[in-house]
Structure formats: structure tokens, C-alpha cells
Symmetry: C2
Subunit: 112 residues, 2 copies
């Protein structure tokens, strides 16, 4: 539910790749570490970050710690984005007003 840590966790390409990998199914730490050309402790910490952000969950299976995605984390971001998207689309309704206000001719990129 903490958007700070959630977005922050997603800001790292390695962590996004880990999530993408986990989207294909459960994986252990070693399995996750393999494709990343990075030491195991580094991956372990990335996983800790992802877990802290509520994006993955871990279980214990003997000496292994398989990880999988936690759908709730995705839902949290989704919710915030939906909020922003909603207000944005409401804005589109008054886009004409906005454009009317934009009379300054310079520094305009997308004026048709």
C-alpha cells in the first residue's frame, strides 16, 4: 500500500526483470540470480526490496526460498494510476478551455 516503496522498487531494471521472470512462475533465488550477471547477495537484496514493496512473496521449501508475484502490489499501483488517468480524462473534456488559455506561441510542441 506504500506507493513510495512500490514505485521505488519498480524504478530498477533488474527488479523489473525479476518481476517479469516471476510472472512466468515461481523461481528460487539462485534461479533468479543466474541470468543477471550479478552476485547472489545483490539479487537477495533486490528480492528484499521487492518483498518490502509487497510485489513478491516468499515461502520456505527446505533450504530454498521460492518467490512468486504478489498481485496486490500491482493492484496498488493500478489504483493510483487509475485515479490519475480518470482525472486526466476528465481534463480532456475541458481541453478546449486549456488550449484557449495557451496563447503563448513559443515552446509549444503538440499544437496541431
Amino acid at each position: 500500500m506504500d506507493l513510495d516503496s512500490t514505485f521505488s522498487a519498480l524504478a530498477d531494471p533488474t527488479r523489473r526483470a525479476i518481476l517479469a521472470r516471476l510472472a512466468l512462475g515461481e523461481a528460487t533465488v539462485m534461479e533468479l540470480a543466474k541470468p543477471f550477471d550479478m552476485t547472489q547477495p545483490s539479487i537477495s537484496r533486490h528480492l528484499k526490496v521487492l518483498e518490502g514493496a509487497g510485489l513478491i512473496v516468499r515461502r520456505a521449501e527446505g533450504t530454498k526460498r521460492p518467490c512468486r508475484l504478489a498481485p496486490d502490489g500491482i493492484a496498488a499501483i493500478d489504483q493510483w494510476l487509475t485515479m490519475l488517468r480518470t482525472v486526466l480524462s476528465q481534463n480532456y473534456d475541458r481541453l478546449d478551455d486549456v488550449l484557449a488559455t495557451m496563447e503563448a506561441p513559443e515552446a509549444q510542441k503538440d499544437k496541431p
Copy 2:
């Protein structure tokens, strides 16, 4: 298009608040700075980050620099999330298999 900077930009509560504020319509730097109990230079830098992430655009109007949201930035995140969500939902289809694999009794939270 750079997910690193986009997610990173969203990881800060002040910046998310700025975006929420901008969702209501254009605002100048001073207008944005006002509610945040933060100095103007700090806000300026936050805006620079948001602009760099492609989340806002700015124009010049005299001495003012009104900002507004850049829908494309939102779209980029949306796209990535949709990808993840899609694979996730595909995963749900084989949820039974996954649950069958999860035989270790400890550290299970969500087993019904």
C-alpha cells in the same frame, strides 16, 4: 519511454502530489510550490525530474512557466503494467498447478 526515470519520478510523494495537482489543470511553479511547504528551488527540481521522465510538459508564458501533465508518460507505465498484468492473469489459469507445487506447510499466507 524510460521506465527507470518514470517510476523513479513517481517514487516521491511530493512529485505524485504535484501530478495530482496538475491533473486538475495547469499551474505555474509558484502555484505548485505554495501548498507544499518547501522552497521554490526544490519544487523547481522536482518539476525538472517530472519533465525528464516525460510526465509533464512546460511552456513559457512571459516570466511564468506553466506546467501540465503529459499523457504519454502515464501511457508508458500503463503499458508496462498491462504487460505484467496480462502475464499475471495467464498465470491465474495455471494457479492450480502452482498451488499443487506449494506443498511446504510453513510460510503460507493465502492458502484458503
